[in-house]
Symmetry: C2
Subunit: 223 residues, 2 copies
């Protein structure tokens, strides 16, 4: 068994003008500040939110005195992940409950990263999905906390129900120091039911509540 780095698969969205964002987040902007033609060099100026595109949520996103993204130990960004296909939960916009995860419970190991493919990512770019995506209930997050997972990833803008009055999913996970990866792409689907090495590196934003990240799946192959 080995990690097949040569078969790495990108699970990240492109950062671009007009990209989907959580409604109300800072509007992202990417523009060339210098060009080869005019200046002899291409440079870009970018403005974006800490939770734009594929990104990591640190505990301080919702927990006072929670650790910021630059203080998550870097070894935690490399870990084995179980990919669970929940796209059978219909319709898109439903809340995942603990009972939806229980059939997979035996496969979730202590300190695993759990990556949830809900199918919402197949609608990336469809504006109506930005406010109606499959999310995690508090009950589901409590189940994951009891399983002592390291991190939880999901394939759309948030683990939380859109405009939830109480951010129960974030608070349950982040208060247990379980960090969160949001807006994974639907490239995740191909690993449904599999274990992978998951490498997701956030940029090192000082005292950051979260940070844009590059998320990569490394297949685990039998030798």
């Amino acid at each position: 068994m080995r990690y097949a780095f040569e078969k790495a698969v990108d699970l990240s969205h492109e950062l671009a003008n007009g990209m989907p964002i959580y409604p109300g987040d800072p509007a992202p902007s990417f523009e060339r500040a210098a060009t080869l033609e005019k200046n002899g060099v291409n440079l870009t100026r970018m403005t974006l939110g800490s939770h734009t595109g594929t990104h990591t949520d640190a505990p301080i996103h919702f927990i006072e005195d929670g650790i910021p993204v630059d203080r998550i130990p870097v070894s935690d960004f490399f870990g084995e992940a179980l990919v669970i296909d929940l796209s059978g939960k219909k319709p898109i916009g439903s809340g995942i409950v603990a009972a939806d995860l229980e059939p997979y419970g035996g496969a979730i190991k202590n300190d695993d990263i759990v990556l949830l493919y809900t199918g919402s990512s197949d609608q990336w770019g469809n504006p109506s999905t930005n406010s109606n995506y499959t999310y995690l209930t508090g009950d589901c997050c409590e189940y994951l906390a009891r399983k002592k997972v390291r991190a939880v990833g999901i394939d759309f803008l948030s683990v939380e129900q859109f405009k939830a009055k109480e951010p129960v999913a974030h608070k349950m996970l982040l208060s247990h120091n379980i960090f969160i990866i949001e807006s994974l792409s639907n490239a995740l689907r191909q690993f449904s039911g599999q274990r992978i090495l998951f490498v997701c590196l956030p940029i090192k934003l000082q005292n950051g509540d979260g940070a844009p990240s590059r998320a990569i799946a490394i297949p685990i192959v039998e030798e």
Copy 2:
């Protein structure tokens, strides 16, 4: 022999207001756009250049028709690296020539990533170093291109002499599709003379000339 992910070491600088930048690059700004106290959530708005902090240069930074950062194959971001200590080249601000690398030539393998610790990184935060750091000459980059390395990393703002009339180092490397990692921290020093697994993931900036990146060293240990 195995990769010791549990001993991962961060080689990245923090992104923060007032951080060192290449003089003339967009001024970075990081500010909370929402806070737990006022809004029930911490969110950050950030403005920065594509070459701010620890970052990757893609061929299109200096090469017309060069590939952008989002088109570098993700498997290339995971690779064995040789760390070379050139801090004996005095003073800081000197140009590294091919002859400085030749003593290490036998240890550089085809497709290696070569990471150069020059000692300039020990002066990170000293404003005068921002315009006077140790750089790579065209001759040195031609040597690395002949060695068919995959990528070259350096521990300060640029591989290029400050305000060079001709960007010979960038052009030599990028025209050979050798991507560049700049502004690695002086945490690199501890690996001098060693081989490591080097994982450096740039955020996925569409058509990006470069992108802020998180760079991590994974020690290689004997079992």
